[in-house]
Symmetry: C2
């Protein structure tokens, strides 16, 4: 298995991208194709102990977050985002991970991989693993900021397929993110989507409020990409605040002073806070295109990249793309 | 000062409402008017040690969350929500606190207190106090689920006035909740609102992403009531998850086993988690009507009610309503 990695994208590129890729290559035994400026990647690769399962592909054009995504992708064939997406299209990579411009990654995926037949709008599926026994999928987390009700139903269908295939959940419970529990609650989009979801082929369990997200009420929580993006980042920011205030992650030396129950509690709390961190799940899966695309955070450092590669690896291994192609949820 | 309290609204009415009111009356020396079924309130009042600064007003009709708010308010003049709102209108109470149907509380406020001149849409202002040195206002958190860009500007103006008057912030920084930092980011509403906010009389600092909410980037974060409600509840749910897992709040007996730095860290972390809890700030302030209305959580227990009364007290004391009437931010 080969995972292509955009070594040119994100706030900490290329250094942290290379470091995360080397760690992932070692830990998961997966082949990595690093895409970026060859000389720099060679140098960094040597520093981090790159082995034979990592190859480097040259890319010399950069795409900025402020650029128009479609225009950038069309005019920059020698960018890591375009090259990585094409590696997936040509079967030379099983998945592509990028922490670069989300808009450009989506544009490249739509342009080169194309949508799976029957999928109107591919969506980004985020994974919230604060409780490791009951991960929650949030979809969409940023691909579609303005949505129609039937699109939210399809996000539910994509999410349900992903939950079955990737998380091995038999009949995933689908909830609608809303500002109240009752059927009459919501903005225009949510109210109408509720009715569509009721009539759909999904195991729809009704509205899910903000405080229910982590309460294991639904396996898949459906929302528009604007709300989903803000909620996901708010949860992450929350974790950051705790970690920064207490230095969790940097070191756990405080533990050495703890004994007995207190130690157990402290470690439990610290590890819970850590799981809120985006670095722990690495990225979101783009569902609905003909290939595995993982969008990692712009501010990803090595651990986030390593985990995004792990996500890409598991998505390829469980064959998410074929599952969506053959999904009984998606009406063809 | 008299605070009217709906003893009939919320999941834990009337018991926890009475308990919270008695605690608030003792702690803040404020006069309380409890509204609900007199016999029950008398009995509970005796149990919790009610003193002379608490009076009881009879209300015999109940309003359910599933009822149409406007219809319920019009047809139930003998409900606690209607009576409490009218006490404020008639100057017999300085503020009204309810954990009952938010829709009905808003409907009663619009109907009986009316909007302040120049205010298009009153909005609910939530207070996030995870970092006590830099509380953040989130507006709207649920009064207006479908909004237009000029309404978001007015939420900013209401929030800025509240921040000055209630939190003593001189030139409050106003941010727009969005799914990206760049000006081009957002759904249709956010993109257009950004341009309106740029041209407004506010100290607009640009977009605020989910992870920035707790980072002290803005004093007032503007958003539609759908997104605001979900984000606020998601942050609260996050706190709940931590507290439930670790038993914080129930008891802090684990602390007794800690020493030195570990103790400091644990207490700091625990108190941080506690501050995410809605019980700590009690409720949201309805801004833009001629009276102080505090909407408390439906699941409020005594501590949340006590804190909502404290919020009502401080809003009356700082004369938020007059400040909005005379606000230089609001174009008349």
């Amino acid at each position: 298995m080969i995972i292509a990695v955009d070594a040119d994208g994100g706030d900490f590129a290329p250094r942290e991208l290379v470091r995360g890729a080397v760690e992932a290559a070692d830990e998961y035994g997966v082949g990595i194709t690093l895409i970026g400026k060859k000389a720099v990647l060679d140098m960094l690769g040597r520093r981090f102990g790159k082995k034979r399962n990592i190859t480097i592909v040259e890319a010399n054009q950069g795409i900025e977050c402020s650029e128009s995504p479609v225009q950038a992708v069309r005019s920059k064939p020698d960018s890591a985002i375009v090259i990585g997406t094409k590696l997936v299209k040509d079967g030379k990579a099983d998945a592509f991970v990028s922490a670069g411009s989300t808009g450009a990654v989506l544009a490249a995926a739509f342009l080169f991989l194309e949508r799976i037949k029957g999928v109107q709008r591919p969506a980004l599926c985020g994974i919230i693993q604060i409780n490791p026994q009951s991960p929650v999928l949030l979809i969409d987390v940023g691909a579609n900021v303005d949505c129609r009700p039937n699109q939210l139903v399809q996000f539910g269908q994509l999410g349900a397929t992903f939950a079955k295939q990737f998380l091995y959940i038999d009949s995933p419970r689908i909830g609608l993110l809303n500002n109240g529990a009752e059927e009459i609650k919501g903005n225009l989009l949510a109210k109408e989507s509720y009715q569509y979801l009721l009539k759909s082929n999904l195991n729809f369990i009704g509205n899910v409020e903000g405080q229910d997200i982590l309460q294991n009420k639904a396996d898949v929580i459906v929302t528009d990409g604007f709300t989903g993006n803000i909620v996901l980042k708010a949860l992450e920011g929350f974790g950051d605040t705790f970690m920064n205030a207490l230095g969790i992650g940097r070191s756990l030396k405080v533990d050495q002073q703890l004994q007995g129950t207190a130690l157990v509690h402290y470690v439990e709390l610290a590890s819970m806070v850590k799981r809120t961190d985006y670095k722990e799940y690495g990225g979101a899966c783009l569902l609905g295109v003909n290939g595995n695309i993982i969008v990692a955070h712009g501010r990803s450092q090595s651990r986030a990249i390593k985990n995004a590669i792990h996500l890409a690896h598991h998505a390829s291994e469980t064959n998410v793309v074929d599952a969506i192609k053959n999904s009984s949820y998606l009406t063809k």
